[in-house]
Protein backbone atom coordinates (compact mmCIF):
# COMPACT_ATOMS: atom_id res chain seq x y z
CA UNK A 1 0.00 0.00 0.00
CA UNK A 2 1.28 3.47 -0.92
CA UNK A 3 2.45 5.84 1.77
CA UNK A 4 0.17 8.66 2.87
CA UNK A 5 0.97 11.71 4.94
CA UNK A 6 -0.84 11.65 8.26
CA UNK A 7 -0.83 13.31 11.61
CA UNK A 8 0.09 10.98 14.47
CA UNK A 9 -3.34 11.10 16.08
CA UNK A 10 -5.08 10.29 12.80
CA UNK A 11 -2.59 7.53 12.01
CA UNK A 12 -3.20 5.84 15.37
CA UNK A 13 -6.96 6.02 14.75
CA UNK A 14 -6.59 4.54 11.27
CA UNK A 15 -4.34 1.79 12.67
CA UNK A 16 -6.95 0.90 15.29
CA UNK A 17 -9.63 0.56 12.61
CA UNK A 18 -7.24 -1.55 10.54
CA UNK A 19 -6.85 -3.79 13.60
CA UNK A 20 -10.59 -4.32 13.79
CA UNK A 21 -11.48 -1.77 16.46
CA UNK A 22 -15.13 -0.82 16.01
CA UNK A 23 -15.89 0.85 19.31
CA UNK A 24 -14.30 4.04 20.60
CA UNK A 25 -15.23 5.92 23.74
CA UNK A 26 -13.45 9.08 24.73
CA UNK A 27 -13.51 12.62 25.97
CA UNK A 28 -11.71 15.54 24.30
CA UNK A 29 -8.39 16.91 25.51
CA UNK A 30 -5.49 18.56 23.68
CA UNK A 31 -3.13 17.32 22.17
CA UNK A 32 -4.99 14.12 21.23
CA UNK A 33 -8.25 15.57 19.88
CA UNK A 34 -7.65 14.56 16.27
CA UNK A 35 -7.86 10.92 17.37
CA UNK A 36 -11.45 10.93 18.67
CA UNK A 37 -12.35 13.34 15.87
CA UNK A 38 -11.00 10.83 13.35
CA UNK A 39 -12.88 7.97 15.00
CA UNK A 40 -16.12 9.96 15.13
CA UNK A 41 -15.84 10.46 11.38
CA UNK A 42 -14.60 7.01 10.36
CA UNK A 43 -16.30 4.52 12.70
CA UNK A 44 -19.86 5.14 11.47
CA UNK A 45 -18.64 4.30 7.95
CA UNK A 46 -17.82 0.73 9.05
CA UNK A 47 -20.86 0.22 11.28
CA UNK A 48 -18.78 1.00 14.32
CA UNK A 49 -19.70 3.14 17.29
CA UNK A 50 -18.14 6.35 18.52
CA UNK A 51 -19.34 7.83 21.78
CA UNK A 52 -18.15 11.09 23.23
CA UNK A 53 -18.59 10.22 26.88
CA UNK A 54 -19.47 12.73 29.55
CA UNK A 55 -16.05 12.28 31.17
CA UNK A 56 -12.88 10.21 31.00
CA UNK A 57 -14.20 8.09 33.88
CA UNK A 58 -17.34 7.30 31.89
CA UNK A 59 -15.31 6.53 28.77
CA UNK A 60 -13.04 3.98 30.47
CA UNK A 61 -16.07 2.25 31.99
CA UNK A 62 -17.69 2.08 28.54
CA UNK A 63 -14.48 0.36 27.47
CA UNK A 64 -14.97 -2.11 30.34
CA UNK A 65 -18.46 -2.86 29.04
CA UNK A 66 -17.55 -3.18 25.37
CA UNK A 67 -14.44 -5.26 26.11
CA UNK A 68 -16.52 -7.47 28.42
CA UNK A 69 -18.84 -8.13 25.49
CA UNK A 70 -15.83 -9.30 23.49
CA UNK A 71 -15.42 -6.29 21.20
CA UNK A 72 -12.17 -4.70 20.07
CA UNK A 73 -12.30 -1.32 21.72
CA UNK A 74 -10.09 1.71 22.32
CA UNK A 75 -10.03 4.96 24.23
CA UNK A 76 -7.55 7.80 24.14
CA UNK A 77 -6.72 10.77 26.28
CA UNK A 78 -3.88 12.97 27.46
CA UNK A 79 -2.13 13.12 30.82
CA UNK A 80 -4.71 14.59 33.23
CA UNK A 81 -7.44 12.66 31.41
CA UNK A 82 -5.38 9.50 31.79
CA UNK A 83 -5.15 10.19 35.50
CA UNK A 84 -8.94 10.05 35.62
CA UNK A 85 -9.00 6.71 33.81
CA UNK A 86 -6.73 4.92 36.26
CA UNK A 87 -9.49 3.47 38.41
CA UNK A 88 -11.12 1.94 35.35
CA UNK A 89 -7.80 0.55 34.11
CA UNK A 90 -7.30 -1.26 37.42
CA UNK A 91 -10.81 -2.75 37.14
CA UNK A 92 -10.15 -3.79 33.53
CA UNK A 93 -6.88 -5.48 34.53
CA UNK A 94 -8.61 -7.16 37.47
CA UNK A 95 -11.48 -8.41 35.32
CA UNK A 96 -8.97 -9.49 32.64
CA UNK A 97 -10.40 -7.54 29.74
CA UNK A 98 -8.51 -6.69 26.56
CA UNK A 99 -8.46 -3.10 25.32
CA UNK A 100 -6.10 -0.47 23.94
CA UNK A 101 -5.61 2.85 25.68
CA UNK A 102 -3.72 5.70 24.01
CA UNK A 103 -2.06 8.46 26.00
CA UNK A 104 -0.77 11.42 23.99
CA UNK A 105 0.91 13.06 26.92
CA UNK A 106 1.35 16.73 27.79
CA UNK A 107 3.01 18.80 30.48
CA UNK A 108 1.97 18.36 34.11
CA UNK A 109 1.33 18.13 36.99
CA UNK A 110 -2.34 19.04 37.23
CA UNK A 111 -3.80 20.57 34.09
CA UNK A 112 -0.24 21.41 33.09
CA UNK A 113 0.05 22.56 29.50
CA UNK A 114 -0.63 21.36 25.98
CA UNK A 115 2.95 20.95 24.77
CA UNK A 116 4.67 17.53 24.66
CA UNK A 117 5.97 15.82 27.78
CA UNK A 118 7.09 12.42 29.04
CA UNK A 119 6.19 13.01 32.65
CA UNK A 120 3.61 10.20 32.62
CA UNK A 121 6.27 7.49 32.76
CA UNK A 122 5.47 6.59 36.36
CA UNK A 123 1.73 6.77 35.71
CA UNK A 124 2.10 4.45 32.71
CA UNK A 125 4.58 1.91 34.04
CA UNK A 126 3.63 1.79 37.72
CA UNK A 127 -0.07 2.32 37.15
CA UNK A 128 -2.14 4.95 38.87
CA UNK A 129 -4.79 2.45 39.87
CA UNK A 130 -4.91 0.19 42.90
CA UNK A 131 -3.78 -3.37 43.32
CA UNK A 132 -1.17 -5.71 41.87
CA UNK A 133 -1.62 -5.14 38.17
CA UNK A 134 0.61 -4.46 35.20
CA UNK A 135 0.08 -3.64 31.58
CA UNK A 136 2.21 -3.39 28.50
CA UNK A 137 3.31 0.13 27.56
CA UNK A 138 4.39 0.76 23.97
CA UNK A 139 6.34 3.96 23.30
CA UNK A 140 6.56 4.58 19.54
CA UNK A 141 9.18 6.96 18.26
CA UNK A 142 7.95 7.38 14.68
CA UNK A 143 4.46 7.47 13.24
CA UNK A 144 5.07 4.26 11.32
CA UNK A 145 5.99 2.59 14.59
CA UNK A 146 2.89 4.11 16.22
CA UNK A 147 0.77 2.54 13.48
CA UNK A 148 2.46 -0.87 13.70
CA UNK A 149 2.38 -0.99 17.50
CA UNK A 150 -1.25 0.13 17.69
CA UNK A 151 -2.28 -2.64 15.32
CA UNK A 152 -0.28 -5.15 17.31
CA UNK A 153 -1.55 -3.82 20.64
CA UNK A 154 -5.02 -5.19 19.89
CA UNK A 155 -3.64 -8.70 19.37
CA UNK A 156 -1.48 -8.51 22.48
CA UNK A 157 -4.46 -7.28 24.51
CA UNK A 158 -6.59 -10.18 23.28
CA UNK A 159 -3.80 -12.69 23.77
CA UNK A 160 -3.18 -11.79 27.40
CA UNK A 161 -6.68 -10.47 28.18
CA UNK A 162 -5.09 -7.32 29.53
CA UNK A 163 -5.13 -3.59 28.70
CA UNK A 164 -2.27 -2.29 26.54
CA UNK A 165 -1.15 1.34 26.66
CA UNK A 166 0.24 3.17 23.65
CA UNK A 167 2.15 6.14 25.04
CA UNK A 168 3.14 8.93 22.68
CA UNK A 169 4.10 12.38 23.77
CA UNK A 170 2.22 15.30 22.21
CA UNK A 171 4.76 15.53 19.41
CA UNK A 172 3.97 11.98 18.26
CA UNK A 173 0.29 12.92 18.23
CA UNK A 174 0.73 16.20 16.40
CA UNK A 175 3.57 15.70 13.96
CA UNK A 176 3.08 14.53 10.40
CA UNK A 177 4.96 11.72 8.67
CA UNK A 178 4.42 9.35 5.78
CA UNK A 179 2.90 6.07 6.95
CA UNK A 180 1.65 2.87 5.39
CA UNK A 181 -0.76 0.32 6.75
CA UNK A 182 0.54 -3.20 6.37
CA UNK A 183 -1.24 -6.42 7.19
CA UNK A 184 -0.20 -7.38 10.71
CA UNK A 185 1.35 -10.77 11.23
CA UNK A 186 -1.26 -13.12 12.56
CA UNK A 187 -1.11 -14.39 16.10
CA UNK A 188 -3.01 -17.42 17.31
CA UNK A 189 -5.53 -15.87 19.62
CA UNK A 190 -7.66 -17.75 22.13
CA UNK A 191 -11.42 -17.69 21.56
CA UNK A 192 -13.25 -15.11 23.67
CA UNK A 193 -15.36 -17.77 25.38
CA UNK A 194 -15.39 -15.64 28.54
CA UNK A 195 -17.26 -12.73 26.93
CA UNK A 196 -20.78 -11.77 27.98
CA UNK A 197 -22.46 -12.27 24.64
CA UNK A 198 -25.67 -13.92 25.81
CA UNK A 199 -26.06 -17.56 26.88
CA UNK A 200 -28.98 -18.41 24.56
CA UNK A 201 -29.77 -20.95 27.32
CA UNK A 202 -26.90 -23.07 26.05
CA UNK A 203 -24.27 -22.39 28.69
CA UNK A 204 -23.85 -20.95 32.14
CA UNK A 205 -23.59 -17.15 32.25
CA UNK A 206 -20.16 -15.58 31.95
CA UNK A 207 -19.39 -13.06 34.65
CA UNK A 208 -17.09 -10.07 34.24
CA UNK A 209 -16.03 -8.92 37.66
CA UNK A 210 -13.14 -7.64 39.75
CA UNK A 211 -14.63 -8.18 43.19
CA UNK A 212 -13.60 -11.16 45.33
CA UNK A 213 -15.23 -11.93 48.65
CA UNK A 214 -12.79 -14.68 49.58
CA UNK A 215 -9.19 -13.55 50.20
CA UNK A 216 -7.83 -17.00 49.34
CA UNK A 217 -9.57 -16.80 45.97
CA UNK A 218 -8.25 -13.27 45.44
CA UNK A 219 -4.72 -14.38 46.21
CA UNK A 220 -5.10 -17.16 43.65
CA UNK A 221 -6.37 -14.61 41.14
CA UNK A 222 -3.39 -12.36 41.83
CA UNK A 223 -0.97 -15.24 41.31
CA UNK A 224 -2.68 -16.05 38.02
CA UNK A 225 -2.37 -12.42 36.92
CA UNK A 226 1.25 -12.34 38.03
CA UNK A 227 2.04 -15.37 35.89
CA UNK A 228 0.58 -13.49 32.94
CA UNK A 229 2.77 -10.48 33.71
CA UNK A 230 5.81 -12.74 33.98
CA UNK A 231 4.99 -14.15 30.54
CA UNK A 232 4.85 -10.59 29.18
CA UNK A 233 8.24 -9.86 30.72
CA UNK A 234 9.56 -13.01 29.11
CA UNK A 235 8.05 -12.56 25.66
CA UNK A 236 7.09 -8.97 24.94
CA UNK A 237 10.17 -6.85 25.74
CA UNK A 238 11.21 -4.70 22.81
CA UNK A 239 14.01 -2.23 22.32
CA UNK A 240 16.33 -0.81 19.72
CA UNK A 241 20.11 -0.54 20.02
CA UNK A 242 21.46 2.42 18.05
CA UNK A 243 25.23 2.61 17.49
CA UNK A 244 25.88 0.99 20.88
CA UNK A 245 28.71 -1.20 19.62
CA UNK A 246 31.97 0.12 21.03
CA UNK A 247 30.19 3.11 22.57
CA UNK A 248 31.62 4.66 25.74
CA UNK A 249 28.54 6.63 26.58
CA UNK A 250 25.08 5.09 26.35
CA UNK A 251 21.99 7.26 26.20
CA UNK A 252 18.64 5.82 27.19
CA UNK A 253 15.65 7.56 25.64
CA UNK A 254 12.24 6.74 24.18
CA UNK A 255 9.60 8.32 21.95
CA UNK A 256 10.31 11.75 20.50
CA UNK A 257 13.32 12.18 22.77
CA UNK A 258 14.97 9.11 21.21
CA UNK A 259 14.78 10.79 17.80
CA UNK A 260 16.53 13.84 19.17
CA UNK A 261 19.15 11.70 20.91
CA UNK A 262 19.88 9.85 17.64
CA UNK A 263 20.76 13.21 16.13
CA UNK A 264 23.03 13.89 19.11
CA UNK A 265 24.68 10.46 18.74
CA UNK A 266 25.38 11.19 15.06
CA UNK A 267 26.77 14.63 15.90
CA UNK A 268 29.06 13.11 18.56
CA UNK A 269 30.18 10.44 16.10
CA UNK A 270 31.16 13.16 13.64
CA UNK A 271 33.41 14.56 16.36
CA UNK A 272 34.93 11.15 17.04
CA UNK A 273 33.06 10.56 20.30
CA UNK A 274 31.59 7.10 20.64
CA UNK A 275 28.06 7.27 21.96
CA UNK A 276 25.05 5.02 21.46
CA UNK A 277 21.40 4.76 22.39
CA UNK A 278 19.24 2.15 24.08
CA UNK A 279 15.69 2.93 22.99
CA UNK A 280 13.05 1.10 25.00
CA UNK A 281 10.05 0.39 22.78
CA UNK A 282 8.24 -1.30 25.66
CA UNK A 283 8.51 0.85 28.79
CA UNK A 284 6.88 -1.97 30.72
CA UNK A 285 8.31 -4.56 30.55
CA UNK A 286 11.51 -2.51 30.62
CA UNK A 287 14.34 -3.87 28.44
CA UNK A 288 16.67 -4.77 31.31
CA UNK A 289 18.60 -7.21 29.14
CA UNK A 290 19.72 -4.43 26.79
CA UNK A 291 22.00 -3.26 29.58
CA UNK A 292 23.94 -6.53 29.35
CA UNK A 293 24.78 -5.79 25.71
CA UNK A 294 26.99 -2.73 26.25
CA UNK A 295 30.37 -4.06 27.43
CA UNK A 296 32.31 -0.95 26.37
CA UNK A 297 30.07 1.55 28.14
CA UNK A 298 31.56 3.73 30.85
CA UNK A 299 28.47 5.73 31.74
CA UNK A 300 24.72 5.89 31.15
CA UNK A 301 22.59 8.96 30.67
CA UNK A 302 18.81 8.94 30.74
CA UNK A 303 17.32 11.67 28.53
CA UNK A 304 13.67 12.47 29.13
CA UNK A 305 11.07 15.16 28.73
CA UNK A 306 10.53 15.07 32.47
CA UNK A 307 12.47 15.78 35.64
CA UNK A 308 13.68 12.16 35.65
CA UNK A 309 11.34 9.16 35.86
CA UNK A 310 12.64 6.44 33.55
CA UNK A 311 16.02 6.96 35.22
CA UNK A 312 14.71 4.78 38.08
CA UNK A 313 14.30 1.85 35.69
CA UNK A 314 17.69 2.61 34.13
CA UNK A 315 19.23 2.34 37.61
CA UNK A 316 17.44 -0.95 38.30
CA UNK A 317 18.58 -2.38 34.95
CA UNK A 318 22.12 -1.06 35.46
CA UNK A 319 22.24 -2.72 38.88
CA UNK A 320 24.93 -0.39 40.20
CA UNK A 321 27.49 -1.16 37.49
CA UNK A 322 27.92 2.23 35.82
CA UNK A 323 27.36 5.84 36.83
CA UNK A 324 23.89 6.99 35.71
CA UNK A 325 23.43 10.59 34.64
CA UNK A 326 20.37 12.54 33.64
CA UNK A 327 19.39 15.24 31.17
CA UNK A 328 15.83 16.45 30.85
CA UNK A 329 13.58 19.27 29.79
CA UNK A 330 10.05 19.47 31.06
CA UNK A 331 6.79 21.37 31.09
CA UNK A 332 6.44 21.11 27.31
CA UNK A 333 10.00 22.16 26.47
CA UNK A 334 11.84 19.92 24.01
CA UNK A 335 15.53 19.04 24.37
CA UNK A 336 17.81 20.06 21.52
CA UNK A 337 20.45 17.75 20.02
CA UNK A 338 23.07 20.45 20.77
CA UNK A 339 22.28 20.51 24.50
CA UNK A 340 22.48 16.70 24.63
CA UNK A 341 25.86 16.78 22.87
CA UNK A 342 27.08 19.28 25.47
CA UNK A 343 25.84 17.06 28.29
CA UNK A 344 27.67 14.08 26.79
CA UNK A 345 30.94 16.02 26.62
CA UNK A 346 30.50 17.19 30.18
CA UNK A 347 30.03 13.60 31.37
CA UNK A 348 32.93 12.18 29.37
CA UNK A 349 35.19 15.09 30.27
CA UNK A 350 35.08 14.26 33.96
CA UNK A 351 32.36 14.96 36.46
CA UNK A 352 30.96 12.13 38.49
Amino acid sequence: MAKVLMKGNEAIGAAAIKAGCKFFFGYPITPQNELPEFMSRELPKIDGVFVQAESEVAAINMIYGAAGAGARTMTSSSSPGMALKQEGISYIAGAELPCVIVNISRGGPGLGGIQPSQADYFQSTRGGGNGDYRHLVYAPSTLQEAVDLTIEAFDIADYYRNPVIVLGDGMIGQMMEPVEFNEPKKRDLPAKDWATTGTEDKRRPNIINSLALDPAELEKHNIKLDNKYKAMEENEVRYEMYKTEGAELIFVAYGTTARIVKNAVDALEAEGIKAGLIRPITLWPFPNKAFNEIPTAKALVSVEMSMGQMIDDVKIANNGKLPVHFYGRTGGMIPTPEAIVEKAKEILGGGK
Partner: protein
Protein backbone atom coordinates in the same frame (compact mmCIF):
# COMPACT_ATOMS: atom_id res chain seq x y z
CA UNK B 1 3.96 36.68 -6.37
CA UNK B 2 4.08 40.43 -6.84
CA UNK B 3 1.02 40.19 -9.09
CA UNK B 4 -1.06 38.63 -6.33
CA UNK B 5 -3.67 40.85 -4.77
CA UNK B 6 -2.84 42.67 -1.54
CA UNK B 7 -4.71 40.29 0.74
CA UNK B 8 -3.67 36.64 0.40
CA UNK B 9 -5.74 34.03 2.18
CA UNK B 10 -4.18 30.57 2.52
CA UNK B 11 -6.73 27.81 3.04
CA UNK B 12 -6.89 24.07 2.51
CA UNK B 13 -7.33 20.63 4.01
CA UNK B 14 -6.07 20.05 7.52
CA UNK B 15 -2.38 19.12 7.30
CA UNK B 16 -2.01 20.10 3.63
CA UNK B 17 0.94 22.37 4.39
CA UNK B 18 -0.71 25.78 4.59
CA UNK B 19 1.49 27.16 7.34
CA UNK B 20 4.76 26.03 5.79
CA UNK B 21 3.64 27.56 2.49
CA UNK B 22 2.44 30.78 4.13
CA UNK B 23 5.73 31.28 5.96
CA UNK B 24 7.90 30.53 2.94
CA UNK B 25 5.70 32.78 0.81
CA UNK B 26 5.93 35.60 3.35
CA UNK B 27 9.72 35.33 3.49
CA UNK B 28 9.97 35.43 -0.31
CA UNK B 29 7.58 38.37 -0.47
CA UNK B 30 9.56 40.22 2.18
CA UNK B 31 12.53 40.27 -0.20
CA UNK B 32 10.51 42.47 -2.56
CA UNK B 33 8.04 44.35 -0.38
CA UNK B 34 8.32 46.32 2.82
CA UNK B 35 5.05 46.28 4.64
CA UNK B 36 3.99 42.69 5.26
CA UNK B 37 1.77 41.23 7.94
CA UNK B 38 1.12 37.53 8.50
CA UNK B 39 -1.94 36.76 10.59
CA UNK B 40 -2.14 33.31 12.18
CA UNK B 41 -5.86 32.57 12.24
CA UNK B 42 -5.37 28.91 13.15
CA UNK B 43 -7.95 28.00 15.77
CA UNK B 44 -7.77 24.29 14.95
CA UNK B 45 -4.19 23.23 15.61
CA UNK B 46 -2.47 23.32 18.98
CA UNK B 47 1.04 22.71 17.55
CA UNK B 48 2.97 23.85 14.46
CA UNK B 49 1.33 27.26 14.17
CA UNK B 50 3.02 30.18 12.43
CA UNK B 51 3.01 32.19 15.67
CA UNK B 52 5.82 29.86 16.84
CA UNK B 53 8.01 31.51 14.19
CA UNK B 54 7.20 35.06 15.26
CA UNK B 55 10.79 35.96 16.09
CA UNK B 56 12.22 34.58 12.85
CA UNK B 57 9.56 36.33 10.77
CA UNK B 58 9.91 39.65 12.56
CA UNK B 59 13.66 39.58 11.96
CA UNK B 60 12.77 39.48 8.27
CA UNK B 61 10.46 42.45 8.63
CA UNK B 62 7.19 40.51 8.72
CA UNK B 63 4.69 41.53 11.35
CA UNK B 64 3.05 38.49 13.02
CA UNK B 65 -0.45 38.72 14.41
CA UNK B 66 -2.12 35.83 16.23
CA UNK B 67 -4.03 35.34 19.44
CA UNK B 68 -4.05 37.88 22.25
CA UNK B 69 -2.96 34.95 24.40
CA UNK B 70 0.75 34.91 23.62
CA UNK B 71 2.96 31.87 23.19
CA UNK B 72 2.45 28.25 22.24
CA UNK B 73 0.70 27.12 25.38
CA UNK B 74 -2.88 27.98 24.54
CA UNK B 75 -5.47 26.11 22.53
CA UNK B 76 -8.10 28.83 22.91
CA UNK B 77 -9.89 29.53 19.63
CA UNK B 78 -9.22 33.25 19.94
CA UNK B 79 -8.05 35.71 17.30
CA UNK B 80 -7.00 39.25 18.11
CA UNK B 81 -8.85 42.27 16.68
CA UNK B 82 -5.43 43.52 15.50
CA UNK B 83 -5.97 41.53 12.28
CA UNK B 84 -8.22 44.37 11.08
CA UNK B 85 -5.37 46.92 11.02
CA UNK B 86 -3.43 45.43 8.09
CA UNK B 87 -6.65 44.45 6.31
CA UNK B 88 -7.72 48.11 6.31
CA UNK B 89 -4.28 49.54 5.55
CA UNK B 90 -4.16 49.67 1.73
CA UNK B 91 -0.36 49.90 1.83
CA UNK B 92 -0.02 46.63 3.71
CA UNK B 93 0.47 43.19 2.17
CA UNK B 94 -1.49 40.71 4.24
CA UNK B 95 -1.16 36.94 4.44
CA UNK B 96 -3.89 35.15 6.34
CA UNK B 97 -2.69 31.70 7.50
CA UNK B 98 -5.99 29.94 8.15
CA UNK B 99 -6.72 26.74 10.10
CA UNK B 100 -7.54 23.54 8.24
CA UNK B 101 -10.79 22.48 6.58
CA UNK B 102 -14.10 24.32 6.70
CA UNK B 103 -13.80 24.29 10.50
CA UNK B 104 -10.65 26.42 10.34
CA UNK B 105 -12.05 28.63 7.57
CA UNK B 106 -14.86 29.71 9.85
CA UNK B 107 -12.66 32.53 11.19
CA UNK B 108 -12.75 34.13 7.72
CA UNK B 109 -16.47 34.87 7.82
CA UNK B 110 -15.77 37.83 10.07
CA UNK B 111 -13.56 39.47 7.38
CA UNK B 112 -15.95 39.04 4.45
CA UNK B 113 -16.13 42.78 3.83
CA UNK B 114 -12.43 42.79 2.87
CA UNK B 115 -12.68 39.98 0.35
CA UNK B 116 -13.62 42.14 -2.64
CA UNK B 117 -12.80 41.07 -6.17
CA UNK B 118 -9.38 42.37 -7.15
CA UNK B 119 -8.50 43.11 -3.52
CA UNK B 120 -7.83 39.58 -2.33
CA UNK B 121 -6.61 36.20 -3.43
CA UNK B 122 -7.60 32.99 -1.76
CA UNK B 123 -5.19 30.13 -2.41
CA UNK B 124 -6.10 26.52 -1.72
CA UNK B 125 -3.14 24.31 -0.75
CA UNK B 126 -3.41 20.74 -2.00
CA UNK B 127 -1.32 17.78 -0.93
CA UNK B 128 -2.30 14.80 -3.04
CA UNK B 129 -0.78 12.47 -0.45
CA UNK B 130 -3.15 13.50 2.33
CA UNK B 131 -6.07 11.15 2.93
CA UNK B 132 -9.13 13.23 2.01
CA UNK B 133 -7.51 15.05 -0.91
CA UNK B 134 -6.02 12.12 -2.78
CA UNK B 135 -8.63 12.29 -5.52
CA UNK B 136 -10.57 14.92 -7.42
CA UNK B 137 -13.80 14.40 -5.49
CA UNK B 138 -12.03 14.88 -2.17
CA UNK B 139 -10.48 18.14 -3.36
CA UNK B 140 -13.78 19.42 -4.76
CA UNK B 141 -15.50 18.57 -1.49
CA UNK B 142 -12.95 20.51 0.55
CA UNK B 143 -13.08 23.50 -1.77
CA UNK B 144 -16.89 23.59 -1.72
CA UNK B 145 -17.14 23.38 2.07
CA UNK B 146 -14.37 25.92 2.66
CA UNK B 147 -15.88 28.40 0.19
CA UNK B 148 -19.29 28.02 1.79
CA UNK B 149 -17.94 28.60 5.29
CA UNK B 150 -15.58 31.44 4.44
CA UNK B 151 -18.08 33.14 2.11
CA UNK B 152 -15.25 33.85 -0.34
CA UNK B 153 -14.21 32.33 -3.64
CA UNK B 154 -10.92 30.57 -4.18
CA UNK B 155 -8.81 32.34 -6.81
CA UNK B 156 -5.85 29.98 -7.14
CA UNK B 157 -4.68 26.44 -6.43
CA UNK B 158 -1.34 25.40 -5.00
CA UNK B 159 0.13 22.00 -5.66
CA UNK B 160 1.95 21.15 -2.46
CA UNK B 161 2.08 17.38 -2.92
CA UNK B 162 4.88 15.88 -0.85
CA UNK B 163 5.92 13.13 1.56
CA UNK B 164 8.39 15.24 3.53
CA UNK B 165 11.90 13.83 3.10
CA UNK B 166 10.55 10.95 1.03
CA UNK B 167 9.25 13.28 -1.68
CA UNK B 168 10.26 12.49 -5.23
CA UNK B 169 9.70 14.40 -8.47
CA UNK B 170 7.08 11.78 -9.32
CA UNK B 171 5.10 12.69 -6.21
CA UNK B 172 5.11 16.34 -7.25
CA UNK B 173 4.01 15.47 -10.78
CA UNK B 174 1.28 13.14 -9.52
CA UNK B 175 -0.02 16.04 -7.43
CA UNK B 176 0.30 18.41 -10.36
CA UNK B 177 -1.93 16.17 -12.47
CA UNK B 178 -4.51 16.02 -9.70
CA UNK B 179 -4.38 19.79 -9.17
CA UNK B 180 -4.71 20.23 -12.93
CA UNK B 181 -7.93 18.19 -12.89
CA UNK B 182 -9.35 20.37 -10.13
CA UNK B 183 -8.19 23.46 -12.00
CA UNK B 184 -10.01 22.44 -15.19
CA UNK B 185 -13.14 21.37 -13.35
CA UNK B 186 -13.42 24.62 -11.39
CA UNK B 187 -11.79 26.96 -13.88
CA UNK B 188 -9.36 28.18 -11.23
CA UNK B 189 -5.69 28.52 -12.24
CA UNK B 190 -2.79 26.73 -10.56
CA UNK B 191 -0.89 29.66 -9.07
CA UNK B 192 1.98 27.92 -7.32
CA UNK B 193 3.84 24.66 -7.14
CA UNK B 194 5.55 24.51 -3.78
CA UNK B 195 8.40 22.06 -3.75
CA UNK B 196 11.17 21.18 -1.36
CA UNK B 197 14.23 23.28 -2.17
CA UNK B 198 16.39 20.24 -2.99
CA UNK B 199 14.03 19.07 -5.76
CA UNK B 200 13.48 22.36 -7.57
CA UNK B 201 16.36 21.97 -10.05
CA UNK B 202 15.01 18.64 -11.31
CA UNK B 203 11.46 19.83 -11.99
CA UNK B 204 10.20 20.09 -15.56
CA UNK B 205 10.22 23.72 -16.72
CA UNK B 206 6.74 23.75 -18.23
CA UNK B 207 4.60 23.28 -15.10
CA UNK B 208 1.63 25.59 -14.69
CA UNK B 209 2.18 27.85 -11.71
CA UNK B 210 5.15 29.65 -10.21
CA UNK B 211 7.56 27.39 -8.35
CA UNK B 212 8.12 28.26 -4.72
CA UNK B 213 11.06 26.47 -3.12
CA UNK B 214 10.10 25.30 0.37
CA UNK B 215 12.51 25.29 3.26
CA UNK B 216 11.00 23.26 6.10
CA UNK B 217 10.86 25.98 8.70
CA UNK B 218 8.13 24.55 10.93
CA UNK B 219 9.89 21.20 11.19
CA UNK B 220 12.87 20.86 13.49
CA UNK B 221 16.01 19.31 11.97
CA UNK B 222 15.74 16.25 14.21
CA UNK B 223 12.24 15.34 12.96
Amino acid sequence: MLKDNRIRVIIGHYGSGKTEFAINYAIELAKEKDKIALADLDVVNPYFRSREMQQLLEEKGIKVISSYVTGSGSDLPSVTADVLGPLQDKECNVILDVGGDAMGARTLGRYKAYFQKGEYDMFCVINGNRPGTQDLNGILHHIATIEATSRARITGLINNTHLLRHTTINEVLKGQELTQQASEKLNIPIKYVSVMESLVADLPKDLEGEIIPIRMIMREDWM
